[in-house]
Symmetry: D2
Subunit: 289 residues, 4 copies
């Protein structure tokens, strides 16, 4: 049974990590968040130590380590701009790190993480759950067996309310903006499916929507990303996700269930996605800014 | 359609209020929380303005008021020790106020709220949802038609994890302690069912559990309150709630569904619970400290 | 002896207010700041109640008021963008308010303050200490007795370190930018000396410096404002302030001593500067943004 | 020229460190504090990078290190209970650390620091400025040449206002209480002068004052520590410090000037006080709690 600690436990994505830790038969020993609205812990790990101050969290984890009870994995669910520093913190604790996407905001932030990986001998994994989605995995196999160059259309419309712009997600210096915060998944998916990006062109860039064209090795993709509900043609829907490959529509709204647990299973089996896997998508979104 | 604003929207209990506002056909125009983990707004009121700073929230609500678009109701879901000051803030905005329990920590805090009610001509309502629970309402009627003096046992075991002690709920100066934060419901229920308390005796008072005996007009109640999971005899349960009246067990674990919406319906119909209704239970828990 | 409360007591300008309260023979009864680095209180008012939470400060001041021990003056030394909301808070406490410059960031913020002045019958005063500087008062008299139209040059170079851009002062949404945070004094001074502004033209607007030309009734003023130390020609100086009127240089680097105390004396004598006095300078800087 | 970074730069004691860095001919490259009230930097190191978030500070310092421009010394001026974690942070950056007193709150906190010293090969120094005070240094020499056992009286009355109890200094879990926050200096001084403590007895322990008797190898000391101004017999004084050795009064109110700079000179010359020097005084104050 592996021992985990998590930072950012009061946030939106943390419950999926708690569930994944539990479903893979492991244990959370410590959690931290500036906000103490963490009743969610009762559902998964009521015994976990909890801290609202980073410093007290550090003291506790160092104490565990010095007593030979150190954690095995450190999970990072904090706002994007804090990822790199929290990843380094986890590595220095002698733990492997599981970091939510995007790993970092800028390519140059990766160097300092790689240095720390080398210094500590520990590894950083990131969550790229779309690569584990069954429909997309099937698609990946089909594309791998073909040489066809495709015309692709990607539409990803997931409306958010006014709060979004007044949270850290709406502050580009903290989230990296739409392309980084929401789009990173998709650009990673496209690279994984169609090969490296050769060129990228922005068509439109607003606060709530972006679109562009990217040339990949096996496809030209016209993409649109929006959090504006006015972009939903069918107002009865909550969101709209379309991937159209040479005229064929791929439905991937379902099958998202339990992808964090699958990600954890992969990581624990030694097949998690490491730093080099994420560099290309971070490069794309960095350049868009 | 009434216009609402809410403070404490990122907290545990806020979703029930958002649901109640929606289910009673009303609208949330503004929300505030120090934490920006408020994705919940998308499910209910994505159009609501959101603020992480009290001052900017105040500015917005005053502006609405000055434009003749002021809010009708101000909802308070903040940590207990802030209730009275946020209630006054709502009243001064010219709104009626709906405040989570407990209304205040100490009896003397009520005076300043009553003064503000008088000065503004607005009203404060509190959430006493157990009084709206069907099983308990039936019980209330039966007891009202009888003169029997009862021996009553109340056990309320709702385990919380370690985080609880390190959140504001574990700080007595902020939550008032177990009796105030969790027990206030039960003491209000007992007064409502059995009449005024004549005397109260503590049997045990620990960080995670308390017990005592209270003499009411129509009953002597031995009560136990615990958040320690070791007090659950059946470890497969998440919680245990027992009300035993003269040997008869009353099951009230169910029927909690939608009690906030019912509370809102009562308030909007002019039948909400006002300050004088809560004084007696606050007096009991104040004395316990 | 008048009773004062202050908000923002840990900040840069607060000591001048504490000194002014003491030197005018009055008393501070309560102080608040999010930061608890307030050892300065020991020099002036060790007996003052101190709070790090706005809500507890409010509770205390309301309690004093309800006991007939309310404060007479509420002093606002918080970051600029909070001024208007804290001014309203003071008025609602039944106190007159003394607010640091700039009173507000935008002209439209004034309306809500004026409404609250009317509703409460209390008054808002602002600190315009340059109008009380002896050299400038003498100049004002001379200009008032003449009809000459002047060519004026104003240079105001007061270097700040890198921290400035990473404090609230460097965030335009919080400080209003250089023209508002630092320049407001000067524009008020120019209006006071030379009459209303008829037109204003920006020549340069950078993060650390701004310059422009303003036509006043009795003067055309070329102004430069900078916090960049590279703009100091004589590097041995800490700052450089020049007012040149039709070729004559006015030295006003000295005589700044005790201007806050003088401001308080004026306010306490009923001659303080009220809202209408500051509207014109706020209008100028609002338009620059 | 050595390169310094400081954490806690907005606090009470930071200016003495800035002055010491400057007076020893060194340079501050980065500073951090949660509060942005840091105009003090302009007087010493306007070029220093400044951060209000720990994570961004970490990123910057790691970047400097990776570029071969790492800091030589890391200075810790944060609230007491954060000292140990910030000390470890500095060591991990590859810097020697200068930490304000008390180094830690509890003896067991020292182990984790010593481990980090060993792991990094870097050193921790603490500020024990009384040992550098000329009058006390002279006294130390005299005592060293004598075998007399002394009856000693120590009175240390340094009044603080109400704010003290509502700052971190008034929270025992953060400051360690009076004996730790203020007394640590004195107990270190006494050990240094009179040898190890053999036994310690508390006579009185209140929120604002403490007293006791300690048996040292060469003295029995009756000590009183107070922050209550009522304990000042001469109300015209701001403080009262008395050390009476076998009936002879030692005046040490003066000579405090520049002791931080002297401390820095010692540290930079390789003669600073390291962990083992502070263990004994921390042991005394830990036991008092």
């Amino acid at each position: 049974m592996k021992r985990f600690a998590i930072i950012g436990v009061a946030g939106y994505v943390a419950p999926r990590h708690l569930k994944a830790i539990q479903e893979t038969g492991n244990v959370l020993v410590a959690a931290m968040d500036k906000s103490d609205s963490v009743g969610i812990l009762d559902q998964y790990f009521p015994e976990a130590a909890f801290f609202t101050e980073f410093e007290r969290f550090e003291r506790y984890l160092v104490k565990l380590k010095n007593e030979g009870q150190g954690i095995d994995y450190f999970v990072v669910c904090t706002p994007n701009y804090l990822h790199d520093t929290h990843v380094r913190f986890g590595l220095r604790l002698g733990a492997d790190v599981i970091c939510e996407k995007p790993l970092v905001l800028n390519l140059h932030n990766i160097t300092a993480i790689e240095n720390e990986e080398k210094a500590t001998g520990k590894r950083v994994f990131t969550i790229l759950q779309l690569r584990l989605q069954p429909v997309l995995q099937k698609l990946k196999k089909e594309l791998a067996n073909s040489n066809t160059f495709h015309q692709v259309k990607l539409e990803y419309i997931t409306p958010r309310g006014n709060w979004y712009q007044y949270s850290w997600k709406g502050d580009n210096s903290k989230s990296g903006g739409l392309a980084t915060n929401i789009g990173i998944h998709l650009f990673d998916l496209l690279i994984w499916l169609f090969g490296d990006a050769k060129s990228s062109q922005m068509l439109n860039q607003e606060e709530k929507k972006m679109s562009g064209i990217i040339q990949f090795q096996q496809a030209e993709v016209r993409w649109t990303l929006s959090i504006d509900k006015n972009d939903l043609i069918d107002k009865s829907l909550n969101s709209y996700r379309l991937l159209e490959i040479s005229g064929e529509k791929i439905e991937f709204d379902n099958g998202f269930h339990n992808l964090h647990t699958k990600s954890y299973q992969e990581i624990l089996s030694g097949r998690g996605f490491r730093i080099k896997e994420v560099k290309k998508s971070i490069e794309i979104v960095s350049k868009m800014r």
